[in-house]
């Protein structure tokens, strides 16, 4: 079985590389990273990953849920794992509207990500 292919959308580059390291050191392949809304959707559509680790707040008008919805439309089988710092009910409601695979609340530990991508 080939390794799991993961794309990462996270505006904080340091945190993005943290997620990157967790994935690669646990036998997964990171096939793309984006740090802003621009280009994030193109990256996902080009890389066609199994999983996307998606930050919700990315700065700018559109957020991770907008990108996730667009990506889901083009790739229905895509498993979206949302990682967000805002766990108030309205934010979670909005994320749930995109049928996410998992929702993780920041700060997340390596074990949380490994479990989510299991």
């Amino acid at each position: 079985m080939s390794s799991k292919r993961v794309a990462i959308v996270e505006d904080d580059v340091l945190i993005a590389y943290f997620f990157h390291d967790i994935c690669t050191s646990n036998g997964m392949e990171v096939v793309g990273m984006a740090h802003q809304t621009e280009g994030a959707l193109d990256m996902i559509l080009a890389a066609k990953p199994d999983f996307v680790l998606m930050d919700v707040r990315l700065g700018g008008k559109r957020d991770g849920v907008d990108i996730g919805m667009a990506a889901h439309e083009a790739l229905p089988g895509l498993k979206l794992v949302y990682i967000t710092g805002s766990n108030e009910p309205p934010s979670l409601q909005r994320i749930r509207s995109d049928n996410p695979y998992k929702i993780l609340i920041k700060p997340v530990l390596p074990a949380d990500i490994i479990e989510a991508l299991a």
Partner: protein, 443 residues
Amino acid sequence: MLISPLTGRKSTPILRSVAVIVACIALADLAVIALRLANGIDWLVLPFWADRLTASSMSVATATSLFLVSCCAILQTFPPGSTGRTFTILASIGLLLPSIAIVGHLFDTHAVLEVFVFATMAIHTAVLLVLLYFAMMLRSRGGWLWLLFGDKVGSVAARRLFPTVVLGPFLFCLLTVLATDAGLMSANFRITLLAILTASVGLIAIVHNAQIENAANERQAELLAELRRTVADKNLLIREIHHRVKNNLQQITALIAIEAAKYRGDERAPFDALSGRVQALGLVHQLLMQSSRQSEISVATFLTDLCDSISRSHFLLRRNIALEVEVDDEDVLLECAVTIGLLANELVTNSIKHAFGEQEGGSIRVSYRADQNNRENRLLVVQDSGRGIDAQELAKKGEGGGMRIIRSLVAQLRGKMDMQQDNGTRFAISFPSMIFEETRYVV
């Protein structure tokens, strides 16, 4: 002379006695008038001077007004809360009687003296009584007379309306009296004008009052809307800050992980412990954002979520270690929750690290409840079924950083820690619940 607004003074009994004497004299006078005793009240007291006494009695109005003023003086010696309303009513009636006499004398002295109640009441008596009532009403703070002196909207409006409502009718009536005397109008037409004037003044007062109340109402609504906006802004800001805090904590976790990537095995353990501590801090903020009150969280939810997080990051399921949580729930402040959380995190990870061998498995129990030995205290217990701490090894290696953190967290809670070894290790920390109140920041 009769007046003291303060209660509990030494002079109070004297004041009451004097007031009672005045009230008795006034009542006796009224009785003399009612029984039509021609010689008057002085004769009752000093009958042997009958030939020297010429005056008969006070007027009914004077006696009644004096009786009421003495009642008011007695009422003022009691706390205003229970007697304030009675005082206001009695003083208002008492003030009304001499006022009628004064105005009556100004308009037509004969007309006043023809009325039985006011017959024989001299102008100076009436003026003195009015002054006496004013003095008494001004001495006890509150009451309607004080409304005229306030600086709030209602008092300002009352002062503005005062000339129109009180002096206006008086001057108008004086003019009509003069006009009637000069033969310019009949007495009945005078009444017509008076009726119209009274109605007009009342109407003006009502309309003016309505304007003021409407304006105040609008202003209040504006302020309320502004307040709501401010609160909404504040809430947004607080959520934003919690969000930032969590992002920063995530960055710290990332930094630790990047540093940790250089190491393998046991050398890596301190980094994982550090990540766990940061995670415990993050959890408090996570729960705060969900909490309806933005400075308190439920201990039960917090400890359960914390242990859940510890369990996942240490793969306890795979290692066959059960982690149970038992909590008597209560809401605690952010500050205390952080300390309790870090302490529980430290003790539980300690047990995970030291209590069990590679393939052993076992159980760890975390409990939080009122201390049975001291109901004012809370008791946090972390108990494992492991092999216990080897005292010799502990003495040899010394206390690790974990133990130092535990001791400072216990001190932070102003608590006492007790350790027992009996089929495992049991750490019990008892701390006073009053620190929940003392650490509350007062804004």
